[in-house]
Protein backbone atom coordinates (compact mmCIF):
# COMPACT_ATOMS: atom_id res chain seq x y z
CA UNK A 1 0.00 0.00 0.00
CA UNK A 2 1.69 3.22 -1.09
CA UNK A 3 1.70 6.07 1.35
CA UNK A 4 -0.99 8.66 0.78
CA UNK A 5 0.40 12.03 -0.30
CA UNK A 6 0.15 14.75 2.30
CA UNK A 7 -2.40 17.39 1.49
CA UNK A 8 -1.05 20.42 -0.34
CA UNK A 9 -1.51 22.97 2.42
CA UNK A 10 -1.59 26.61 1.43
CA UNK A 11 1.47 28.60 2.44
CA UNK A 12 -0.26 30.48 5.25
CA UNK A 13 -1.18 27.24 7.04
CA UNK A 14 2.25 25.59 6.85
CA UNK A 15 4.16 25.73 10.14
CA UNK A 16 7.16 28.02 9.95
CA UNK A 17 10.53 26.38 10.63
CA UNK A 18 11.86 26.94 14.12
CA UNK A 19 14.15 29.96 14.37
CA UNK A 20 17.52 29.73 16.18
CA UNK A 21 17.12 30.42 19.87
CA UNK A 22 13.39 29.66 19.95
CA UNK A 23 12.16 27.08 22.42
CA UNK A 24 11.28 23.65 21.03
CA UNK A 25 7.53 23.75 21.72
CA UNK A 26 6.16 27.17 21.12
CA UNK A 27 3.53 27.98 23.72
CA UNK A 28 0.28 29.45 22.46
CA UNK A 29 0.02 32.96 23.78
CA UNK A 30 -2.34 35.10 21.72
CA UNK A 31 -6.06 34.24 21.89
CA UNK A 32 -6.05 33.28 18.20
CA UNK A 33 -3.26 30.78 18.79
CA UNK A 34 -5.10 29.34 21.78
CA UNK A 35 -8.26 28.96 19.74
CA UNK A 36 -6.32 27.35 16.90
CA UNK A 37 -4.69 24.90 19.32
CA UNK A 38 -8.08 24.04 20.81
CA UNK A 39 -9.46 23.36 17.34
CA UNK A 40 -6.49 21.21 16.41
CA UNK A 41 -6.75 19.18 19.59
CA UNK A 42 -10.48 18.54 19.01
CA UNK A 43 -9.80 17.38 15.44
CA UNK A 44 -6.91 15.25 16.68
CA UNK A 45 -9.14 13.68 19.37
CA UNK A 46 -11.70 12.65 16.76
CA UNK A 47 -9.11 11.52 14.24
CA UNK A 48 -7.27 9.39 16.80
CA UNK A 49 -10.50 7.48 17.41
CA UNK A 50 -11.89 7.31 13.84
CA UNK A 51 -8.92 7.68 11.44
CA UNK A 52 -11.27 9.72 9.30
CA UNK A 53 -8.53 12.03 8.03
CA UNK A 54 -7.14 9.27 5.82
CA UNK A 55 -10.50 8.82 4.14
CA UNK A 56 -10.99 12.54 3.73
CA UNK A 57 -7.52 12.88 2.23
CA UNK A 58 -8.27 9.89 -0.04
CA UNK A 59 -11.43 11.59 -1.22
CA UNK A 60 -10.35 15.23 -1.42
CA UNK A 61 -6.67 15.15 -2.40
CA UNK A 62 -6.70 12.46 -5.06
CA UNK A 63 -4.80 12.85 -8.30
CA UNK A 64 -6.73 14.10 -11.29
CA UNK A 65 -5.60 13.85 -14.90
CA UNK A 66 -4.20 16.67 -16.95
CA UNK A 67 -6.72 18.68 -18.98
CA UNK A 68 -9.72 18.56 -16.67
CA UNK A 69 -11.94 21.59 -17.05
CA UNK A 70 -15.19 23.20 -16.00
CA UNK A 71 -17.27 20.41 -17.53
CA UNK A 72 -15.98 18.18 -14.74
CA UNK A 73 -17.82 20.24 -12.14
CA UNK A 74 -21.30 19.31 -13.40
CA UNK A 75 -21.49 16.23 -11.15
CA UNK A 76 -20.76 18.28 -8.03
CA UNK A 77 -23.22 20.89 -9.24
CA UNK A 78 -25.91 18.20 -9.46
CA UNK A 79 -25.07 17.04 -5.95
CA UNK A 80 -25.40 20.58 -4.62
CA UNK A 81 -28.75 20.88 -6.41
CA UNK A 82 -29.80 17.73 -4.57
CA UNK A 83 -28.59 19.15 -1.25
CA UNK A 84 -30.59 22.31 -1.98
CA UNK A 85 -33.68 20.17 -2.57
CA UNK A 86 -33.06 18.20 0.61
CA UNK A 87 -32.60 21.25 2.83
CA UNK A 88 -35.47 23.31 1.42
CA UNK A 89 -37.67 20.20 1.33
CA UNK A 90 -37.15 19.52 5.03
CA UNK A 91 -38.21 23.06 5.89
CA UNK A 92 -41.21 22.97 3.53
CA UNK A 93 -42.31 19.79 5.31
CA UNK A 94 -42.63 21.83 8.51
CA UNK A 95 -45.62 23.67 6.99
CA UNK A 96 -46.99 21.13 4.54
CA UNK A 97 -50.08 19.04 5.33
CA UNK A 98 -50.83 16.09 3.00
CA UNK A 99 -54.60 16.38 3.30
CA UNK A 100 -56.52 15.62 0.11
CA UNK A 101 -59.73 17.22 1.41
CA UNK A 102 -58.28 20.68 0.73
CA UNK A 103 -55.78 21.08 3.57
CA UNK A 104 -52.82 20.41 1.31
CA UNK A 105 -53.64 23.28 -1.01
CA UNK A 106 -54.37 25.59 1.93
CA UNK A 107 -51.09 24.71 3.66
CA UNK A 108 -49.13 25.42 0.46
CA UNK A 109 -51.00 28.70 0.07
CA UNK A 110 -50.23 29.59 3.68
CA UNK A 111 -46.53 28.83 3.38
CA UNK A 112 -46.32 30.75 0.11
CA UNK A 113 -48.28 33.84 1.10
CA UNK A 114 -47.97 34.10 4.90
CA UNK A 115 -44.93 32.26 6.22
CA UNK A 116 -41.75 34.36 6.53
CA UNK A 117 -39.53 33.71 3.47
CA UNK A 118 -41.91 30.90 2.53
CA UNK A 119 -42.21 32.10 -1.04
CA UNK A 120 -38.42 32.09 -1.38
CA UNK A 121 -37.93 28.64 0.09
CA UNK A 122 -40.73 27.15 -1.99
CA UNK A 123 -39.37 28.80 -5.12
CA UNK A 124 -35.90 27.45 -4.34
CA UNK A 125 -37.40 23.95 -4.11
CA UNK A 126 -39.54 24.37 -7.22
CA UNK A 127 -36.89 25.91 -9.47
CA UNK A 128 -34.15 23.81 -7.90
CA UNK A 129 -36.00 20.72 -9.11
CA UNK A 130 -35.76 21.89 -12.71
CA UNK A 131 -32.15 22.97 -12.22
CA UNK A 132 -31.31 19.51 -10.88
CA UNK A 133 -32.83 17.79 -13.92
CA UNK A 134 -30.97 20.11 -16.30
CA UNK A 135 -27.67 19.59 -14.47
CA UNK A 136 -28.12 15.81 -14.47
CA UNK A 137 -28.56 15.78 -18.23
CA UNK A 138 -25.57 18.11 -18.73
CA UNK A 139 -23.46 15.88 -16.49
CA UNK A 140 -24.67 12.83 -18.38
CA UNK A 141 -23.84 14.46 -21.72
CA UNK A 142 -20.34 15.31 -20.49
CA UNK A 143 -19.73 11.71 -19.42
CA UNK A 144 -21.16 10.40 -22.68
CA UNK A 145 -19.30 12.67 -25.08
CA UNK A 146 -16.00 12.35 -23.17
CA UNK A 147 -16.34 8.54 -23.23
CA UNK A 148 -16.00 8.49 -19.43
CA UNK A 149 -18.56 5.66 -19.07
CA UNK A 150 -16.14 3.09 -20.54
CA UNK A 151 -14.21 0.43 -18.66
CA UNK A 152 -13.72 0.45 -15.68
CA UNK A 153 -16.44 3.03 -15.01
CA UNK A 154 -19.52 1.20 -16.28
CA UNK A 155 -20.96 0.66 -12.80
CA UNK A 156 -20.61 4.38 -12.05
CA UNK A 157 -22.66 5.04 -15.20
CA UNK A 158 -25.30 2.47 -14.23
CA UNK A 159 -25.69 3.98 -10.76
CA UNK A 160 -25.95 7.37 -12.44
CA UNK A 161 -28.79 6.13 -14.64
CA UNK A 162 -30.62 4.81 -11.57
CA UNK A 163 -30.11 8.21 -9.94
CA UNK A 164 -31.60 9.87 -13.03
CA UNK A 165 -34.67 7.61 -12.86
CA UNK A 166 -35.08 8.27 -9.13
CA UNK A 167 -34.83 12.01 -9.75
CA UNK A 168 -37.58 11.71 -12.37
CA UNK A 169 -39.68 9.83 -9.81
CA UNK A 170 -39.04 12.70 -7.38
CA UNK A 171 -40.33 15.12 -9.98
CA UNK A 172 -43.42 13.00 -10.57
CA UNK A 173 -44.32 12.56 -6.90
CA UNK A 174 -43.48 16.15 -5.99
CA UNK A 175 -45.69 17.54 -8.73
CA UNK A 176 -48.83 16.36 -6.93
CA UNK A 177 -48.03 17.94 -3.57
CA UNK A 178 -49.26 21.54 -4.15
CA UNK A 179 -52.59 19.83 -4.94
CA UNK A 180 -53.97 22.40 -7.34
CA UNK A 181 -55.80 21.57 -10.56
CA UNK A 182 -52.58 21.16 -12.53
CA UNK A 183 -51.09 18.80 -9.91
CA UNK A 184 -54.24 16.72 -9.75
CA UNK A 185 -54.73 16.21 -13.48
CA UNK A 186 -51.02 15.76 -14.18
CA UNK A 187 -51.02 12.98 -11.61
CA UNK A 188 -54.14 11.38 -13.08
CA UNK A 189 -52.47 11.39 -16.50
CA UNK A 190 -49.12 10.20 -15.13
CA UNK A 191 -50.64 7.32 -13.18
CA UNK A 192 -52.65 6.29 -16.24
CA UNK A 193 -49.50 6.33 -18.37
CA UNK A 194 -48.01 3.86 -15.87
CA UNK A 195 -51.22 1.86 -16.19
CA UNK A 196 -50.74 1.33 -19.92
CA UNK A 197 -47.83 -1.03 -19.30
CA UNK A 198 -49.02 -4.51 -20.26
CA UNK A 199 -49.86 -7.06 -17.50
CA UNK A 200 -48.27 -5.18 -14.58
CA UNK A 201 -49.50 -1.70 -15.49
CA UNK A 202 -52.90 -1.91 -13.77
CA UNK A 203 -51.28 -3.14 -10.54
CA UNK A 204 -48.65 -0.39 -10.71
CA UNK A 205 -51.26 2.33 -11.03
CA UNK A 206 -53.29 0.77 -8.21
CA UNK A 207 -50.15 0.80 -6.08
CA UNK A 208 -49.47 4.46 -6.86
CA UNK A 209 -53.05 5.53 -6.16
CA UNK A 210 -53.43 3.21 -3.15
CA UNK A 211 -56.60 1.86 -4.74
CA UNK A 212 -58.72 1.87 -7.87
CA UNK A 213 -59.42 5.60 -7.79
CA UNK A 214 -57.54 8.71 -6.73
CA UNK A 215 -58.40 8.49 -3.05
CA UNK A 216 -57.80 9.81 0.43
CA UNK A 217 -54.37 8.20 0.83
CA UNK A 218 -52.99 8.85 -2.65
CA UNK A 219 -51.60 12.21 -1.59
CA UNK A 220 -49.97 10.95 1.61
CA UNK A 221 -48.56 8.01 -0.33
CA UNK A 222 -46.96 10.35 -2.85
CA UNK A 223 -45.73 12.52 0.02
CA UNK A 224 -44.07 9.58 1.80
CA UNK A 225 -42.44 8.37 -1.42
CA UNK A 226 -41.30 11.91 -2.24
CA UNK A 227 -40.02 12.78 1.19
CA UNK A 228 -38.59 9.57 2.65
CA UNK A 229 -38.31 6.62 0.30
CA UNK A 230 -36.61 8.15 -2.73
CA UNK A 231 -34.38 10.73 -0.94
CA UNK A 232 -32.89 7.93 1.17
CA UNK A 233 -32.20 5.86 -1.94
CA UNK A 234 -30.74 8.86 -3.76
CA UNK A 235 -28.44 9.73 -0.85
CA UNK A 236 -27.19 6.15 -0.60
CA UNK A 237 -26.59 5.89 -4.34
CA UNK A 238 -24.81 9.26 -4.45
CA UNK A 239 -22.48 7.83 -1.80
CA UNK A 240 -21.80 4.75 -3.96
CA UNK A 241 -21.37 6.95 -7.05
CA UNK A 242 -18.82 9.19 -5.27
CA UNK A 243 -16.97 6.20 -3.84
CA UNK A 244 -16.54 4.79 -7.34
CA UNK A 245 -15.47 8.17 -8.72
CA UNK A 246 -12.80 8.40 -6.04
CA UNK A 247 -11.78 4.74 -6.25
CA UNK A 248 -11.43 4.63 -10.04
CA UNK A 249 -10.23 8.18 -10.56
CA UNK A 250 -11.71 10.44 -13.19
CA UNK A 251 -10.94 10.00 -16.85
CA UNK A 252 -8.89 12.45 -18.87
CA UNK A 253 -10.62 14.42 -21.62
CA UNK A 254 -10.46 12.55 -24.92
CA UNK A 255 -8.14 15.10 -26.49
CA UNK A 256 -5.37 14.49 -23.95
CA UNK A 257 -2.79 12.09 -25.38
CA UNK A 258 -1.23 9.45 -23.16
CA UNK A 259 2.16 10.33 -21.70
CA UNK A 260 5.19 8.92 -23.44
CA UNK A 261 6.55 6.19 -21.21
CA UNK A 262 9.54 4.60 -22.92
CA UNK A 263 9.47 1.41 -20.86
CA UNK A 264 5.78 0.87 -21.63
CA UNK A 265 6.51 1.05 -25.33
CA UNK A 266 8.95 -1.85 -25.20
CA UNK A 267 7.58 -4.74 -27.18
CA UNK A 268 10.13 -7.29 -25.98
CA UNK A 269 11.55 -7.77 -22.55
Amino acid sequence: MPKLPSPPLPKALRPAPRRPGEPDEKQATTPIEVAADAGISVVDWIDERTSLSGGIRWMMFRKVPRGINWFYTLGSATMFAFLNQAVTGVFLAMYYRPDAAGGAYESVRYLTDQAFLGQLVRAMHKWGASVMIILIFMHMARVFFFGAYKYPRELTWIIGVVLLILTMAMGFTGYLLPFDQRSYWATIVGVNINGTGPFLGPYLSDFLRAGPEFGATTLSRFYAIHMMLIPGLIAALIGAHLYLVSKLGISAPPWIKAQEEPELRQTTL
Binding site: G102, P202, A210, P212, F214
Partner: protein, 227 residues
Amino acid sequence: MADRHKEGSKSKYTLDRQMPGAFEGETVTRRRFMTGVTHGAGAVAAMAFTLPALGFAIGPLFSRLPWSWQPIGPPEDFTDTTYTTKVIQIVQGIGEAGNSIAYVRKRDPAIDTEPLDQYNHWVALSSRCMHLGCPVRFVAAAERFICPCHGGVYDFRGMVVGGPPVRPLDRFYTRYNTSTGLVELGPRYSVNSELQRFSPRDPGQPLDGIGQYLYPPRFDTASLTSR
Protein backbone atom coordinates in the same frame (compact mmCIF):
# COMPACT_ATOMS: atom_id res chain seq x y z
CA MET B 1 -14.29 -30.90 -4.04
CA ALA B 2 -15.34 -34.48 -4.58
CA ASP B 3 -12.17 -36.02 -3.27
CA ARG B 4 -12.12 -33.99 -0.09
CA HIS B 5 -14.34 -36.47 1.71
CA LYS B 6 -12.28 -39.41 0.59
CA GLU B 7 -10.03 -41.36 2.90
CA GLY B 8 -7.89 -39.62 5.46
CA SER B 9 -7.94 -35.84 5.35
CA LYS B 10 -11.53 -34.79 5.95
CA SER B 11 -14.56 -36.97 6.40
CA LYS B 12 -18.03 -35.43 6.45
CA TYR B 13 -18.63 -37.14 9.81
CA THR B 14 -17.54 -35.08 12.77
CA LEU B 15 -16.72 -38.31 14.63
CA ASP B 16 -14.12 -39.22 12.00
CA ARG B 17 -12.57 -35.77 12.31
CA GLN B 18 -11.93 -36.32 16.03
CA MET B 19 -14.05 -33.38 17.12
CA PRO B 20 -14.60 -33.23 20.89
CA GLY B 21 -18.16 -34.17 21.77
CA ALA B 22 -18.93 -35.52 18.31
CA PHE B 23 -21.51 -38.25 18.11
CA GLU B 24 -22.41 -41.01 15.72
CA GLY B 25 -23.72 -39.88 12.30
CA GLU B 26 -23.29 -36.13 12.93
CA THR B 27 -22.28 -34.21 9.78
CA VAL B 28 -23.03 -30.59 10.66
CA THR B 29 -20.34 -29.00 12.77
CA ARG B 30 -21.31 -26.67 15.58
CA ARG B 31 -19.63 -23.80 13.75
CA ARG B 32 -21.74 -24.41 10.65
CA PHE B 33 -24.85 -24.86 12.75
CA MET B 34 -24.30 -21.58 14.61
CA THR B 35 -23.56 -19.77 11.33
CA GLY B 36 -26.79 -21.08 9.85
CA VAL B 37 -28.83 -20.18 12.94
CA THR B 38 -27.40 -16.65 12.98
CA HIS B 39 -28.13 -16.10 9.30
CA GLY B 40 -31.59 -17.59 9.69
CA ALA B 41 -32.38 -15.42 12.72
CA GLY B 42 -31.19 -12.36 10.83
CA ALA B 43 -33.40 -13.24 7.88
CA VAL B 44 -36.40 -13.80 10.15
CA ALA B 45 -35.80 -10.49 11.92
CA ALA B 46 -35.48 -8.63 8.62
CA MET B 47 -38.62 -10.23 7.21
CA ALA B 48 -40.51 -9.54 10.44
CA PHE B 49 -40.51 -5.84 9.61
CA THR B 50 -40.18 -5.96 5.81
CA LEU B 51 -43.11 -8.22 4.99
CA PRO B 52 -45.76 -6.43 7.09
CA ALA B 53 -44.58 -3.06 5.78
CA LEU B 54 -44.67 -4.30 2.19
CA GLY B 55 -48.09 -5.87 2.65
CA PHE B 56 -49.29 -2.63 4.19
CA ALA B 57 -48.08 -0.68 1.14
CA ILE B 58 -49.55 -3.00 -1.50
CA GLY B 59 -52.69 -3.89 0.44
CA PRO B 60 -54.86 -1.31 -1.36
CA LEU B 61 -54.36 -3.29 -4.59
CA PHE B 62 -56.70 -5.92 -3.24
CA SER B 63 -59.29 -3.67 -1.66
CA ARG B 64 -62.79 -3.21 -3.07
CA LEU B 65 -64.22 0.23 -3.57
CA PRO B 66 -67.41 0.67 -1.55
CA TRP B 67 -70.11 1.85 -3.92
CA SER B 68 -73.63 2.91 -3.26
CA TRP B 69 -76.35 3.89 -5.70
CA GLN B 70 -76.40 7.69 -5.91
CA PRO B 71 -79.62 9.53 -6.74
CA ILE B 72 -79.02 11.94 -9.62
CA GLY B 73 -82.48 13.39 -10.16
CA PRO B 74 -86.02 12.68 -11.35
CA PRO B 75 -86.54 11.13 -14.82
CA GLU B 76 -87.81 14.49 -16.14
CA ASP B 77 -84.24 15.84 -15.83
CA PHE B 78 -83.07 13.72 -18.72
CA THR B 79 -83.97 13.89 -22.42
CA ASP B 80 -82.78 11.70 -25.27
CA THR B 81 -81.54 14.63 -27.36
CA THR B 82 -78.83 16.06 -25.14
CA TYR B 83 -76.77 15.29 -22.07
CA THR B 84 -77.36 16.57 -18.55
CA THR B 85 -74.26 17.12 -16.42
CA LYS B 86 -74.36 15.57 -12.95
CA VAL B 87 -71.73 15.84 -10.21
CA ILE B 88 -71.20 12.44 -8.62
CA GLN B 89 -69.04 11.23 -5.78
CA ILE B 90 -66.39 8.64 -6.60
CA VAL B 91 -64.43 8.66 -3.34
CA GLN B 92 -65.83 9.68 0.02
CA GLY B 93 -64.16 11.93 2.56
CA ILE B 94 -61.79 13.98 0.39
CA GLY B 95 -64.13 16.76 -0.67
CA GLU B 96 -64.03 17.98 -4.23
CA ALA B 97 -61.06 15.78 -5.11
CA GLY B 98 -63.36 12.78 -4.73
CA ASN B 99 -66.02 14.09 -7.12
CA SER B 100 -66.42 13.46 -10.80
CA ILE B 101 -68.88 14.26 -13.54
CA ALA B 102 -71.35 12.00 -15.33
CA TYR B 103 -73.10 12.97 -18.58
CA VAL B 104 -76.58 11.48 -18.48
CA ARG B 105 -79.37 11.22 -21.08
CA LYS B 106 -82.40 9.05 -21.69
CA ARG B 107 -81.85 5.98 -23.82
CA ASP B 108 -82.83 6.58 -27.45
CA PRO B 109 -83.76 3.25 -29.09
CA ALA B 110 -83.08 4.76 -32.52
CA ILE B 111 -79.35 5.11 -31.85
CA ASP B 112 -78.65 2.97 -28.78
CA THR B 113 -78.38 -0.47 -30.33
CA GLU B 114 -76.93 -2.29 -27.34
CA PRO B 115 -79.39 -4.72 -25.70
CA LEU B 116 -81.76 -3.15 -23.22
CA ASP B 117 -81.78 -4.36 -19.63
CA GLN B 118 -82.76 -2.92 -16.25
CA TYR B 119 -79.47 -0.96 -15.97
CA ASN B 120 -79.43 1.13 -19.13
CA HIS B 121 -82.74 2.93 -19.43
CA TRP B 122 -80.56 6.02 -18.96
CA VAL B 123 -77.16 6.32 -20.60
CA ALA B 124 -74.60 7.74 -18.14
CA LEU B 125 -71.15 8.43 -19.53
CA SER B 126 -68.07 8.98 -17.40
CA SER B 127 -66.28 12.26 -18.07
CA ARG B 128 -62.82 10.75 -17.94
CA CYS B 129 -61.12 10.53 -21.31
CA MET B 130 -60.09 7.02 -22.28
CA HIS B 131 -56.71 8.20 -23.45
CA LEU B 132 -55.14 9.18 -20.13
CA GLY B 133 -57.99 10.30 -17.89
CA CYS B 134 -58.46 14.02 -18.45
CA PRO B 135 -62.02 15.34 -18.11
CA VAL B 136 -63.89 15.52 -21.42
CA ARG B 137 -66.43 18.27 -22.14
CA PHE B 138 -69.70 17.80 -24.02
CA VAL B 139 -70.00 20.35 -26.80
CA ALA B 140 -73.74 20.46 -27.50
CA ALA B 141 -73.47 22.29 -30.84
CA ALA B 142 -71.18 19.64 -32.29
CA GLU B 143 -72.73 16.73 -30.36
CA ARG B 144 -69.21 15.70 -29.53
CA PHE B 145 -67.18 15.05 -26.36
CA ILE B 146 -63.81 16.78 -26.60
CA CYS B 147 -60.80 16.19 -24.37
CA PRO B 148 -58.66 19.27 -23.65
CA CYS B 149 -55.41 17.40 -23.01
CA HIS B 150 -54.50 15.53 -26.18
CA GLY B 151 -57.42 16.09 -28.53
CA GLY B 152 -59.56 13.00 -28.06
CA VAL B 153 -63.02 13.30 -29.70
CA TYR B 154 -66.09 11.12 -29.04
CA ASP B 155 -69.46 11.12 -30.77
CA PHE B 156 -72.90 11.46 -29.17
CA ARG B 157 -72.86 7.85 -27.95
CA GLY B 158 -69.35 8.17 -26.51
CA MET B 159 -67.67 6.24 -29.35
CA VAL B 160 -64.19 7.37 -30.39
CA VAL B 161 -64.21 9.43 -33.58
CA GLY B 162 -60.78 10.99 -33.34
CA GLY B 163 -57.55 11.37 -31.40
CA PRO B 164 -55.68 8.95 -29.17
CA PRO B 165 -58.41 7.34 -26.95
CA VAL B 166 -58.29 3.55 -27.06
CA ARG B 167 -61.93 2.76 -26.29
CA PRO B 168 -65.35 4.45 -25.93
CA LEU B 169 -66.13 6.50 -22.84
CA ASP B 170 -66.79 4.43 -19.72
CA ARG B 171 -70.39 4.19 -18.51
CA PHE B 172 -72.26 3.89 -15.26
CA TYR B 173 -75.08 1.51 -14.45
CA THR B 174 -78.36 3.41 -13.99
CA ARG B 175 -81.67 2.34 -12.53
CA TYR B 176 -85.00 3.81 -11.51
CA ASN B 177 -85.80 3.70 -7.81
CA THR B 178 -89.55 3.22 -7.53
CA SER B 179 -89.71 4.19 -3.84
CA THR B 180 -88.02 7.59 -4.25
CA GLY B 181 -88.98 8.22 -7.86
CA LEU B 182 -85.39 9.16 -8.71
CA VAL B 183 -82.89 7.92 -11.25
CA GLU B 184 -79.88 6.36 -9.52
CA LEU B 185 -76.34 5.91 -10.70
CA GLY B 186 -74.37 2.77 -9.93
CA PRO B 187 -70.78 1.60 -10.45
CA ARG B 188 -68.70 2.41 -13.50
CA TYR B 189 -68.05 -0.17 -16.21
CA SER B 190 -65.90 -0.15 -19.31
CA VAL B 191 -67.02 -0.94 -22.85
CA ASN B 192 -65.26 -2.07 -26.00
CA SER B 193 -65.97 -0.69 -29.46
CA GLU B 194 -69.09 -2.92 -29.68
CA LEU B 195 -70.32 -1.50 -26.35
CA GLN B 196 -69.97 -4.87 -24.63
CA ARG B 197 -69.61 -4.47 -20.89
CA PHE B 198 -66.34 -5.15 -19.09
CA SER B 199 -65.30 -4.59 -15.48
CA PRO B 200 -63.96 -1.05 -15.00
CA ARG B 201 -60.46 -0.48 -16.38
CA ASP B 202 -58.16 2.48 -16.20
CA PRO B 203 -57.92 4.86 -19.13
CA GLY B 204 -55.39 3.95 -21.76
CA GLN B 205 -56.15 0.23 -21.63
CA PRO B 206 -57.79 -1.01 -24.84
CA LEU B 207 -60.53 -3.63 -24.71
CA ASP B 208 -60.48 -4.71 -28.37
CA GLY B 209 -58.31 -7.41 -29.90
CA ILE B 210 -55.22 -8.30 -27.89
CA GLY B 211 -55.78 -5.35 -25.56
CA GLN B 212 -58.36 -7.17 -23.49
CA TYR B 213 -55.75 -9.79 -22.56
CA LEU B 214 -52.87 -7.40 -21.86
CA TYR B 215 -54.63 -5.62 -19.00
CA PRO B 216 -56.01 -7.97 -16.37
CA PRO B 217 -59.15 -6.84 -14.55
CA ARG B 218 -58.51 -5.54 -11.06
CA PHE B 219 -59.25 -7.29 -7.81
CA ASP B 220 -61.07 -4.25 -6.52
CA THR B 221 -63.93 -4.18 -9.00
CA ALA B 222 -66.92 -2.68 -7.27
CA SER B 223 -69.53 -5.36 -7.55
CA LEU B 224 -73.09 -4.48 -8.42
CA THR B 225 -75.31 -5.44 -5.53
CA SER B 226 -78.95 -6.28 -6.15
CA ARG B 227 -80.84 -3.75 -4.04
